[in-house]
């Protein structure tokens, strides 16, 4: 069942430690098959050295396990909710990567301060508030997904234009058209989080990127007339 997607998700999970985004088994990657509306996610707490593609777990959008003998990542319900709310996305990544998590712990939005940011994120990456005790009791992981969706709706941010979020006191989620681009967006977010922190330390008056440069960089790569990369 979804063997190809399992292999993709498996490889994308292995990419997390290679990119320095996680230690041990702290992260998780999933990808969805939009035809069947089933998604594949890594199992919970399995050592990356022994994990295999066949260990990946298949789930549906209500968070039910459809195939697999191992428990899925405990964050699986968050993935399900995000796939429900954001129909454009095909892959999701969650990590506790150092610098993005630092911003998340600080409870601050990550502003666009350079073109590295603008090449991937079309503006500020929002930091969603702490979950309340009520939300936690109601279902921590589902409510995390609901809070992300509500944050994007309330702030009128399009998930494919800003493919990531920070969770106050927790860490980042990123997404993309597939698992690989979600991982790449996690790498960019981590790097931008590091640079922006030190930018503000170096010059506390440092300005956000002017709109015209933000537009130029985002659109030359993702706009209608994009001319970055090969056709």
């Amino acid at each position: 069942m979804l063997e190809q997607l399992k292999e993709t998700v498996f490889q994308a999970n292995l990419e997390l430690p290679r990119q320095g985004l996680i230690k041990y088994t702290w992260g998780n990657v999933s990808a969805i098959d939009r035809e069947t509306n089933l998604f594949v996610i890594k199992p919970s707490g399995v050592d990356y050295k022994t994990m295999q593609a066949s260990d990946m777990v298949v789930c549906d959008l209500d968070g039910n396990i459809v195939e697999g003998t191992l428990n899925p990542s405990s964050d699986m319900p968050t993935h399900a909710v995000l796939y429900r709310h954001f129909p454009e996305i095909g892959g999701i990544v969650h990590t506790h990567s150092t610098w993005a998590t630092t911003w998340a712990q600080a409870g601050l939005d990550l502003p666009a301060m350079g073109t590295t940011h603008a090449d991937t994120f079309y503006g500020t990456v929002p930091c969603a508030r702490f979950l309340t005790k009520e939300e936690i009791d109601q279902g921590y992981e589902e409510q995390t997904g609901e809070l992300i969706a509500a944050t994007f709706k309330e702030r009128q941010i399009k998930p494919m234009e800003v493919p990531g979020v920070l969770l106050h006191g927790h860490g980042p989620f990123t997404w993309g058209k597939d698992a690989d681009s979600a991982v790449m967006n996690a790498v960019v977010l981590e790097e931008v989080a590091k640079m922006n922190l030190f930018t503000r330390q170096l010059n506390s008056f440092a300005e956000e990127l002017p709109q015209a440069i933000l537009d130029k960089h985002y659109l030359r790569k993702h706009g209608k007339n994009a001319y970055y990369g090969q056709k």
Copy 2:
């Protein structure tokens, strides 16, 4: 004698440089066999490139060498004292890892500011005070262990809920149910120390993690109804 445990302790010591926690021979790992109340610890100042499992030294809880031709780690008496005071623990790690040592040098408790912390440490990691000249003269390494135990008692912290400590001007000790989990806790402490330092720099008003989220993350992994990982 305790050949299996020697191999475990040997491998756990090799893991320290692989995880970036030590340079040269600066750290030490031990593990105890609670049936015989003997523990195995690495020898002092032996190059990790040539060290073998058979070089591990066996000691008793009074700090006597029971087997081994090499001197044990000079911190051995601290390990003995901790095994005496904390009967639940099975392994101990000491390093001078960069960021945990930075907090130790700053003489500050490490507060829980995110879920990375909460997944392993159920609240603030305490920083024990400097040893006095009298304590040093009395037996520096033993008194270090006594001070750690006294700090946990006085502050009513359970050693298995907060499996680590900072020593003012020195560095971290961590522990766990066995050598491997003590190493993992050292990795988490180091990462959290790094993130929390920069979190406070980024936002000096950054709040500690709300109790409800601390509870949720710690208990979903370590509580009675834990659902993280595989059964």
Copy 3:
């Protein structure tokens, strides 16, 4: 066509991730053949794992593609302009390396604070201002090159004495007599940017390097009577 130069440029591009200057395909290196006034540059957005020397693109100084089936780096027109304005240079590098980009995002000139800087850069590395909307609309990449040239002219800096620049909100460009020295200058700039940031944090009154030491270090390596290295 220019097969030797393609190999050189290809290898120099591969050196960028090895030196920790880029992630993915974020940077680009070019080199020029001054006899034909043609330069070779890497293609846009091609995975470094599969890229080959034959994928390099040959361009002329007006920014036309002379040979190659792939799109050149989207920053190609900046390279063309720099080769036109700076006839002494033979290679150009552009990266978003962490610390140089941090200074670029802060919008600050990078002062000479130590001999590591002085061994390569004979004084302050300038930070060019943001491009205006008009300049962007006129041709973003060309105007980036024009702005760099204008900055050096206005501030009377010789491009071979200070072989690099920061672009506000973007990142560094470096150059040199050939592709390899341009890469080496990018490595130096990155390291100096890191050290100077923390130097100022450690001591906000830290002085710039005295002129006599700046002269000594730059000139013992690059002056008429240089005695560094082998003849």
Copy 4:
């Protein structure tokens, strides 16, 4: 001539990039044979990938080349002067390692703030002042050595108790009983420089290590009754 020492010095130079202390050829290691008063030092600016033990240069204490076809490191005269003034030392290392150089650029002494420092350096590592124009004109590299010696004399620091120095605006020199221990001292200095910088940032009131702990750690490793390591 001194083939054994050449091999030692060659290997010690290769250790610098492995320990992350240098990029390219920025550092140099030497070691002396006290019977003949000749020392061996690496050649200037030779790529570490092609450098061989036989490329090492033999010099005398007046800074004359005694054997070797390549130019010695341009810092060779500094080494000669240090060997003359500090008869106890057997090896010298110079690097521009990131964090030690940051303190050097800040022009600040490096205080003992933890036991990592105390295990190797018995107190503050001094920062020598900038050289004057007159000293530079008189012979930059020799005068650098003279300034280091004068700084230790004036401040009554014993070179084997504090085996290293920072040079304002430049970087660290370390030494030891031989080349290997000089390299190890460079590694310790770099790590301590990093930790102390962030310690002060975390807590600007952080205290220096109490004298009793400094004594204990330094002397348990280097004192008459040292009990660290194996006999």
